[in-house]
């Protein structure tokens, strides 16, 4: 089951699901529209990114705070949502690009928000192969739907991206026995 607009409003009102800021028309029929943040991160080196190298991958990418940005043909970049989100233990989030951007040939890969996650979302945006596009922070670009889980999660998300605010470069996995 997917949480309806009515139940999303109710959950937000009762602080089960926390979204800040919450735009007035963000709650849609069966999900919530998320807006672009004002930061993008692009790869600046063309070598192979090795998440096990021990090097801080933030150095391999370059962050830019912007009033608008261009996604060039065939380019992939990382962006973030303007919203800070706290997920409860009984739903999961599935991210879908809004139709207007999908028509322009933009792609975001299948992205899942785990139960218990806190932070802004870092999302990969891929341009189309034909032309560049100028995008603006605070425009709604992504629709997140929230399917319910069969039972509340026993072990909530405590991963390496917990609490992230800025666009976050990939990080090496924490060894499982240390979690």
């Amino acid at each position: 089951m997917i949480v309806s607009d009515y139940d999303l409003s109710h959950d937000i009102e009762h602080d089960r699901l926390y979204i800040d800021p919450l735009y007035d028309d963000a709650i849609r029929q069966n999900g919530i529209d998320f807006h672009l943040g004002d930061e993008v991160r692009r790869a600046k080196e063309k070598e192979i990114l090795d998440i096990r190298s021990g090097r801080n991958l933030e150095e391999w990418t370059e962050s830019e705070i912007c009033k608008s940005f261009v996604v060039h043909p065939n380019e992939s970049l990382l962006c973030r949502t303007a919203e800070y989100l706290e997920m409860p233990d009984y739903i999961v989030g599935l991210c879908y690009l809004r139709s207007t951007y999908a028509r322009l040939g933009i792609i975001i890969p299948a992205t899942v928000i785990d139960a218990g996650f806190k932070g802004t979302l870092t999302v990969e945006l891929r341009g189309n192969p034909s032309f560049g596009m100028r995008l603006y922070p605070f425009d709604p670009f992504m629709h997140v739907i929230f399917p319910t889980l069969d039972s509340p999660v026993v072990k909530l998300y405590r991963g390496k991206y917990q609490g992230q605010i800025a666009v976050t470069a990939p990080r090496a996995d924490i060894p499982l026995e240390a979690v």
Partner: protein, 196 residues
Amino acid sequence: MLSDLMIRSYIEYGKLGIRPLSPETIRENGVDLRFSDAFQPLKKTDAIYDTHLPSAEQNPLFFDPVIHADYYDLQPGCAVQVATMEWIDMPVDLCAMINLRSTYARLMTLGSPTAINAGWHGNVVYTLQSPYPYGVRLYKGDRFMHVLFDSLTSPAEKPYDKDGKYQDQQGMVGPKMDVEKTTRRIRVPAIPEKTL
């Protein structure tokens, strides 16, 4: 997630509309949609599409005119906007999730996963790209998109309605930007005590 049995009953009772419907397109846990005869290529250009400028003026500069044909050759490194031959009538208590069928993913074409909201009606419009060094021939009537349906926890309070910019879209409809969006009001919820 709706099974084939549930999808069939939604259709039989007239709650979910898929027209034309050929019974073999109802799969185990979803419905396959087919290419219509309309294809609209994205133009190769150095110009930048500005999402804050009116789309009616920009779309002709970035999209070629719609081609009606039995097939379309998606050239390497190109993208094309396509529409489904099926018309979808979404009930107020279902949400749908669109994915590219595995065959087209194996052909290395890309398209973004998107959702269809409760209460929406129209032909589905989708953009496919083939960023790799070979092209793919797309045939009218071939199944290329798989749609999953899931029920909502309650019927949508505000279903997608006439105010929605893509409501009742017929055939190929390009992107429509909301230009008034800069004036959107923001409501900041009170910070719950549990935060961090």
